[in-house]
């Protein structure tokens, strides 16, 4: 099975809004051992100019991984998820994610290449507020390992 290269450039419809919760940010920060008060205490975050607690840099993965099911479960694109290895990951921020954000993800297939019997799928996920404000762009490169 291989990926359909004609999907390059294709965007999927925006995902259902994700409500960023204060407790979810605290839970995530605790799980990675991030103790900075701005991740836990709204007052500390406000003193930095944010409306509520700030999410650590890799927090958007909570949303974008769920959003990537759009691609993984698209039989036409043809990802065999049992062969997928995470290759690269990048976040480019317009502003930090904060509790209270209502975010949607727009997935775009940016690139598909084949090399050495493996396939490489680069996706870009634009994370925006429901009002259309860009918050962070997230790139993931997935390696679909060839059959040995």
């Amino acid at each position: 099975m291989s990926l359909d290269h004609s999907f390059v450039g294709r965007s999927y419809p925006p995902t259902a809004p994700y409500q960023v919760g204060r407790e979810k940010i605290r839970e995530f920060a605790t799980a990675i051992g991030a103790t900075d008060p701005a991740y836990h205490d709204p007052e500390a975050a406000r003193s930095l100019g944010h409306s509520d607690v700030v999410a650590p840099p890799t927090f958007p993965m909570v949303l974008t991984m769920a959003a990537s099911r759009q691609l993984i479960e698209d039989p036409a694109l043809g990802i065999d998820y049992t062969r997928v290895v995470h290759g690269d990951q990048r976040f480019a921020y317009t502003r930090p994610v904060v509790a209270g954000d209502e975010l949607v993800c727009v997935n775009t297939v940016e690139d598909i290449t084949s090399r050495g019997g493996h396939e490489f799928l680069t996706t870009r996920t634009d994370v925006r507020t429901t009002a259309g404000e860009q918050v962070v762009a997230v790139w993931s490169k997935l390696v679909v390992r060839g059959e040995a």
Partner: protein
């Protein structure tokens, strides 16, 4: 300029906690049976957990929890986490590659486990001076 080394201990309990918080329940991160079946030496850390720990190092160097404007890595080698109290350790270092005219600091980051690089092309841009 080289920045102070930061180390992070990783145990199985950390992986379970991260799985719950992130929603990534792939069994290679908690089941030796599954991990060895797909050819791994044993349970490995989520790549995104390693990336999150390195992100902590970056925000610590930056001196601000909200300083990261760009952060990317390539996962090159799995972090194997033994089922014992010690787990393993990730060692993170960085050098300042560039300070831009508009005040951004670009870092080249290195993360190793047992002396081997686990990330490559790990780069972060923060909006603070370091």
């Amino acid at each position: 300029m080289e920045l102070p080394t930061q180390t992070f201990r990783v145990t199985r309990a950390d992986l379970v906690r991260y799985a719950g918080a992130s929603g990534d329940f792939n069994p290679i991160h908690w089941s030796d049976r599954t991990a060895t079946k797909v050819g791994l030496p044993g349970v490995i850390a989520h790549g995104m957990f390693t990336m999150a720990l390195v992100g902590r190092a970056v925000t610590t160097w930056a001196g601000a929890p909200d300083a990261v404007v760009d952060y990317g890595v390539r996962f090159t080698r799995p972090v194997v986490v033994p089922d014992d109290d010690e787990g393993t350790e990730i060692v993170v270092t960085a050098v300042v590659r560039e300070v831009t005219e508009d005040g951004l600091t670009r870092l080249d980051v290195t993360a190793t486990c047992l002396g081997e690089k686990v990330l490559s092309q790990a780069r972060a841009t923060v909006r603070t001076a370091i």
